[in-house]
Symmetry: C2
Subunit: 334 residues, 2 copies
DNA sequence: CTGAAAGCGCTTACAG
DNA sequence: CTGAAAGCGCTTACAG
């Protein structure tokens, strides 16, 4: 069977304690013994058993990440960032796809608990009381990513309200006076409401009108909602010259719908998105959007988590900078 | 500290063996003891330690998945499928992002070995001799996903040559006679060469010309290559009325370039892609493409892996069906 | 510099 | 039906 530390010890003619020391770069052996042991390891093709190691109480070198959807561009770029940092730290990442399902999330939490992960990243969902309790039970560091809560876990995200404000302001500075918004899930306390507030605030600060029909509410942040909703929007607010979509997918839906309606973007209608996912640059026309540093969010979240794991203390929350990526979907009005 | 099986045993006034039996639904206790034990578990909020369990030699309920890029639409949909099946099986998935880097891949393999994963899915990369050796050392089932090799691991993929043939044939049936191909990484033995062969074969079967300049070779399957390459293609092959792009990203690049060149798709140039990633439906015009069942590939690969884990025997390789998704990027020529 | 031994939290024969 | 004990593969004081 697979060689164990005993086999190595026997082959090298030392005790398992010595092998362990060498494996863990602890002091206490001569160069000569080290050589012998390394040689035995090599010959036997020995690989230490991480389970046994973890059992002793050391870390498992594994973190868990919970995403509502693992197959969205958003999640996958964030995951990319997390994975990069974890790799630098010789840690593995277990991904969990919750489908925004409470029961499923609880089950994942249980699994991650049993596997004794060193920490948790909880991304892009609302932290319920039940999740919170379970996480407290686990007694490991957790960081919230692209979400926030009143519970005492640090988060990393961009300021949605300010970012939405920026997007709207950008449109205003390009000369637009009749601006509409496609809001996404408008009752979502994380990604819905704050973006709407930012939009409203910008309009107000610039003394521009914000009617009821300036904002059209959807049930999701997805492409099809954007597509579905543009005709309705234009019907109620035909003077609109620009729309701020609360996600890139929504924006792509809007552009797609405009295309079908024979409305030229940006000549007749300007569109700005939110996220700067990979698809924004592939859009026709290339989509102007307010960028979230997605990979950066993942990296920051993972770094924060590892710091907590190392120090045993919490870290401050972090707001990441958004920025406007100018492409070709917004026209400057003279 | 965290309660262990001992604490539960003490509280319920039984031995740890009995607790273990109840935990694992083995026979050998009265309803009454079971009740007591369950109660103790509940009160102590006891969670079994998966590390200790795994150490005994039982499975770790964890599989490892290796992707070249974790943040591509392709990978993330495949991962979605894998994760679904793993969840049904109460298993976790560790994702590894190899960046197509040999050293990094070897390191991941080492980590996964140390963590004693129950099996491996190796996706979308070429299985080198070194990887193969390491995997054999690990002595766990592995399945190849969207790739194949002469080594004796089962694979699941679509038949690239036939799928490419279908795409080309589709264009021919739409009346196109001058068809070009944007090939992606043309020396890639998995996704490069077979698609080129399929393209050539279709042209030949229908007695259509295939010149040197009918195929333009890229270094990747990415958007920017498609974008960069269209002008070159058209320069050498101006009569082309349709192009088969070896990936959706490539196709989006072609469409984007056409847009900038003032060439209308599909009126002046038809484009068919390959993959049917999420972005295909968001393209303008919506992209006709030959679909790989991405989530299905992930599910099939994971199912095969778990079957191997359960039975200890290999399973047959599997070719998944591709199919053409007709959208609006191909024009019928009269 | 080195080893014997206890212990991490479980499961699994074995014996009763 | 139930428990004592060995053992999974390591790490960590402790003693020399």
């Amino acid at each position: 069977m697979k060689p164990t530390i005993k086999d190595v010890a026997k082959k090298a003619n030392v005790s398992i304690a010595t092998v362990s020391r060498i494996l863990n770069q602890l002091p206490g052996y001569t160069e000569e013994t080290k050589r012998k042991v390394l040689e035995a390891i090599e010959e036997l093709n020995y690989k230490p058993n991480a389970l046994a190691r973890g059992l002793i109480g050391k870390k498992t070198q594994t973190i868990g990440v919970l995403f509502p959807y693992v197959s969205s561009m958003l999640s996958s770029e964030i995951l990319d960032g997390i994975e990069n940092i974890a790799h630098d730290r010789d840690s593995s990442v277990i991904v969990c796809h919750t489908a925004s399902n409470g029961e499923r999330t609880m089950k994942y939490l249980q699994m991650l608990h049993e596997k004794r992960v060193d920490g948790l990243i909880f991304a892009s969902s609302i932290l319920t009381e039940a999740y919170y309790q379970r996480m407290v039970d686990m007694n490991v560091p957790v960081v919230l990513l692209s979400t926030a809560s009143s519970h005492p876990f640090p988060f990393v995200k961009v300021d949605d309200e300010i970012a939405a404000y920026s997007a709207t302001e950008y449109l205003i500075q390009k000369g637009h006076r009749h601006i509409a918004m496609v809001s996404g899930s408008s009752n979502d306390p994380i990604a819905g409401i704050p973006r709407i507030e930012g939009f409203k605030k910008a309009l107000k600060d610039y003394q521009l009108p914000c009617h009821d029909h300036s904002i059209i509410h959807c049930n999701s942040f997805g492409f099809y909602d954007g597509q579905r909703v543009l005709p309705l929007l234009l019907d109620k607010y035909p003077e609109a010259t620009a729309v701020f979509a609360a996600s890139d997918d929504l924006a792509m839906g809007v552009i797609s719908s405009a295309y079908q309606l024979g409305i030229a973007v940006p000549q007749q209608l300007s569109v700005i998105g939110y996220d700067n996912t990979r698809s924004a640059e592939m859009a026709i026309p290339p989509l102007t959007t307010v960028a979230q540093p997605l990979v950066g969010l993942g990296e920051a979240g993972a770094s924060m988590l590892f710091e907590m794991i190392d120090t045993g203390e919490s870290v401050p929350s972090k707001l990441m900078e958004h920025y406007i990526v100018e492409r070709e979907s917004v026209k400057k009005l003279e």
